[in-house]
Amino acid sequence: MAKIRKVENKIKLGLELDELPEQLKQKIDEALKDKKVTEKQRQKIYEKAFEEYKKALVEPGESVGIIGAESIGEPATQMTLNTKHFSGVAELNVTTGLPRIIEIVDGRKTISTPSMEIYLKKEYENEEDVKKYTLQIKETNLSEISKEFNVNLEEFSIEVTLDEKKLKDLELTKEKVIKVLNKTLKKLKAEEKEGIIKLTFKSKEENFNELYKAKDKLKNVYVSGIKNIKQVLPVKKEEGYVLITAGTNLKEIMKLPYVDTYRTVSNDIFEIYEYFGIEAARQAIINEVYKVMENQGLNIDIRHLMLVADTMCNSATVKGITRYGVVKEKSSVLARASFETALNHVINAALMGEKDPMNSIVENVMVNQIIPAGTGIPKLVMDLDIKKKK
């Protein structure tokens, strides 16, 4: 969990600036690197750029939230409802479209189709390695690497014949498998006999029923790979290979030596938040929503999404835009009450003796006062005293 520090606000707002921000100056410098520019000319360029910069700023009182909501909401009405589609190649199912956007914006802890895009380090980006690692990453259970499961009633044991080829692909040996089996199974004992793995009960009292149950259990025993990665699909892209997975496990994947940790991403925002913190989660929200919109051929200015992501993340945890999330944080009782479960908010506010500062839009519309936005912000009052003096 990220700690909340109190940071003194040293950043000047756009309107308070009297010259170009340092970052933009650096960018200009970079662009002018190979050109002969005198210091005087440079300053002139800065000035011109600053004028443009000021024009591009959002004016005070602009209702960015509602404009953002309309800018995302309007194209969203054109989105094909309920599109489950295949990203890259077939077989792998990833939720996109409106359901995905709802999922992100609601801040759901468990998403319907968790998935990762794993990139390999440059030196491993060849067909052979990709194939090998595809198999190694995938969560593998015993039934996938074995040819046969036999119940030997005579000896009261289960006999497993392993698939040698698959073992080789996964860089496993029989010894390793036996080791894993002995580690995970508590009631059974595994040993090799004539190339076959033989499992017997440690205690003698077990009955046949238990034997069959154990056989079924055995099939799903985890042997190798990364847990939670149910499926791995190598996809060739222009720049190289990507392994698209069903299921995520950032923590384990990032530990693998052949994975390029800079490019590998998960689509699970909470997982990202847990391992990389709130800033990464914010970026993930923006990326994920933008990806869906782009997929549908819709064009939304990224700044609207940034605003959404900022509101979701500004309390240092990811909060959904729901009555349990962002709405709960609103300072106005009336504004909260106007959005779902009105009575709860009113009663709680009454118990706490809450005071509504009336400094936002909704509550002022309710009371029918001038809203503090747009033309409602500037206040021009005629000083009547001057008149009297005359």
Partner: protein, 600 residues
């Protein structure tokens, strides 16, 4: 061996199921068993199902024996002369009804020419796959199925002559077309259902072209001259009904000219058409608010004293008046009594409806549209022979909808009108388009029904040839005069002091939550505030306690029962709905304390 089920209940086994089924069918045709029995053999499951229950969908087919239909020319002649009837054919086993199950065993030929030895039945006519209204769409087999469907739905909404004793009966909300015509392009179904005795449309000259953009988005342009000549004129009927109800205590309503001391008396002007019996006279021209039937009711709650008082005292006015936005002429008055023996008065009001902008029209092919412009006849484009279209239809309505039948009807209509005959457009069995085109060519017109046209305003010749010809057009019952509504100020609701809702109550048009958002997005703060001023109130607020104060109208000052003399009272402008919210909080036991401060 096969299992036999009677009405899906197991009854036994038969050795030779096919023979058994044939035997049953044979005896049914010979009337040894009831004609409503259907039987079918499921080869896969080796089961015979015999069904006699109600609720099965069945349809008639001509029985075929050895590749030859049992229905012969002789039968047809006898049918025409009236010697034979449909029931005779069914009884003779020439025509039989199959249900969905038995159809599985049958091989039905669509046309007589398709018959082979394997066929068991023949369709009576290929278009009988359509329902009644769908069969009324000419050349329907040329159009996209969904459009044929909407075309048939639209026809159900057309204004025509829905019943012949229209002048003597009273229905709610009915329409009646003034000069109906029989269609030039018709189908067999028009004859079958005697459509021409109660038609629902008129043949008008349609030009497929644009005219100053007023027919975009499915609108149509109408010639003012056609309207003046009576095109699509209709009458709208609406009754005003009331009865003299009896109440407990021997009290009852009274249909009469209300006395002036009745509670809720309107104005003398409103009662001006009423005769001595309190009922309006026929042929009176009424407008909204005019009383049609005068009525008074006894007071709602009787106090003990009032029972003994005399006269009209306490009676309420409960007359029936013409509704808001309506007008008309009184057609006739009916005085009768209902089943309980109460006096019942029904007044039929008629209103002539001349086509106006916004009225809905359609051809028979799902090509509906509203009038977008009414053009003076002089300004209408004309052909070289001087024909001016009655309707200008947009060409953009055709390609995406693929209503080819619409186009064929126009060509057919043109040929029929010129030749003076009706064209048969029955689906699958229509006169061929090629022949019609040839006929049109022989009449001295272009075979594709296009003509050179001239601009009605400038007289210039148009460069393109315009597709023009008569079509059957229907006026639909949705007319703007029934839905048009606007309001500036008007009635408000008692509770919220906000405008009432709905056209009948002269209501306001709500500026909803999302519309509000658009004002916010524009930053138009003052516009937003003024838009929501419909329930504005100025209330005195006691700043000491933060509660609403009370305004004393006698002393002309506000006081607060909570703070008494010390109260400092300010007058605050707020939405009445918010005042109600504060009241509700108080009722919940919540103290909504208002903290005031200067806005500036």
């Amino acid at each position: 061996m096969a299992d036999v089920f009677l009405n899906e209940k197991y009854v036994g086994k038969v050795d030779n199921p096919k023979e058994f089924v044939e035997m049953l069918k044979y005896s049914r045709r010979r009337k040894e068993i009831d004609k409503n029995v259907n039987v079918y053999y499921d080869e896969e499951l080796n089961e015979v199902h015999v069904n006699t229950t109600k609720g099965r969908l069945r349809r008639p087919l001509i029985v075929v024996k050895e590749g030859k239909p049992l229905l012969t020319e002789q039968h047809l002649q006898q049918l025409q002369s009236g010697e034979l009837s449909w029931n005779d054919l069914v009884n003779q086993g020439i025509i039989e009804y199959l249900d969905a199950a038995e159809e599985e065993n049958a091989l039905v030929a669509l046309q007589k020419e398709d018959l082979t030895k394997e066929h068991t039945h023949l369709e009576i006519a290929p278009f009988d796959m359509f329902g009644l209204t769908t069969s009324l769409v000419p050349y329907a087999n040329n159009s996209f199925a969904a459009k044929v469907n909407t075309g048939s739905k639209n026809q159900k909404q057309a204004i025509g002559i829905y019943i012949n004793n229209i002048m003597t009966r009273i229905d709610t909300d009915t329409n009646f077309l003034h000069y109906p015509q029989k269609p030039i392009v018709k189908t067999v179904m028009h004859d079958v259902m005697d459509y021409e005795k109660h038609p629902a449309g008129q043949n008008v000259v349609v030009a497929v072209m644009s005219y100053r953009g007023y027919n975009m988005e499915d609108a149509i342009i109408i010639n003012k001259g056609s309207i003046d000549r009576g095109f699509a004129r209709s009458t709208y009927f609406r009754p005003a009904v009331t009865e003299e109800l009896r109440y407990s205590g021997g009290l009852y309503d009274q249909i009469e000219l209300p006395d002036k001391d009745v509670i809720g008396y309107r104005s003398e002007r409103d009662y001006r058409y009423l005769e001595d019996d309190g009922i309006i006279y026929p042929e009176a021209k009424v407008k909204e608010g005019d009383v049609v039937i005068g009525k008074t009711s006894p007071p709602r709650f009787l106090s003990s004293m009032e029972q003994y008082s005399l006269g009209n005292e306490g009676r309420r006015e409960s007359s029936i008046a013409v509704k808001h936005g309506e007008q008309g002429i009184i057609d006739f008055v009916v005085l009768t009594e209902n089943s309980e023996g109460n006096k019942l008065v029904e007044v039929k009001i008629r209103d002539q409806r001349i086509p106006e902008i916004g009225d809905k029209f359609t051809s028979r092919h799902g090509q509906k549209g509203v009038i977008g412009l009414i053009v003076p006849e002089a300004d209408m484009p004309f052909t070289s022979s001087g024909i001016k279209p009655d309707i200008i239809f947009s060409p953009h309505s055709i390609p995406s909808r693929m209503t080819i039948s619409h186009l064929i009807e126009l060509v057919g209509g043109k040929t029929g009108a010129l030749k003076g005959r009706q064209i048969d457009g029955t689906s699958f069995e229509s006169e061929s388009e090629v022949d019609i085109r040839k006929e049109l060519l022989s009449l001295g017109f272009r075979e594709d029904a296009t003509e050179t046209m001239y601009d009605g305003i400038t007289g210039e010749r148009m460069e393109v040839k315009i597709f023009i010809g008569p079509m059957y057009y229907l006026k639909l019952k949705h007319m703007v005069s029934n839905v048009i509504h606007a309001r500036a100020t008007g009635p408000i609701q008692l509770l919220t002091r906000q405008p009432t809702e709905g056209r009948a109550r002269e209501g306001g048009l709500r500026l909803g939550e999302m519309e509000k958002d658009t004002f916010v997005a524009h930053g138009a703060a003052s516009v937003l505030k003024e838009r929501f001023d419909s329930d504005k109130v100025v209330v005195p607020v006691d700043e000491t306690s933060g509660m609403l104060a009370i305004y004393d109208m006698y002393k002309k000052q506000a006081y607060s029962p909570l703070s008494g003399e010390e109260a400092s009272i300010s007058y605050i402008e707020m939405a009445y709905a918010f005042k109600l919210l504060l009241d509700e909080f108080k009722a919940m036991g919540i103290y909504p304390k208002l903290i005031l401060k200067n806005k500036f």
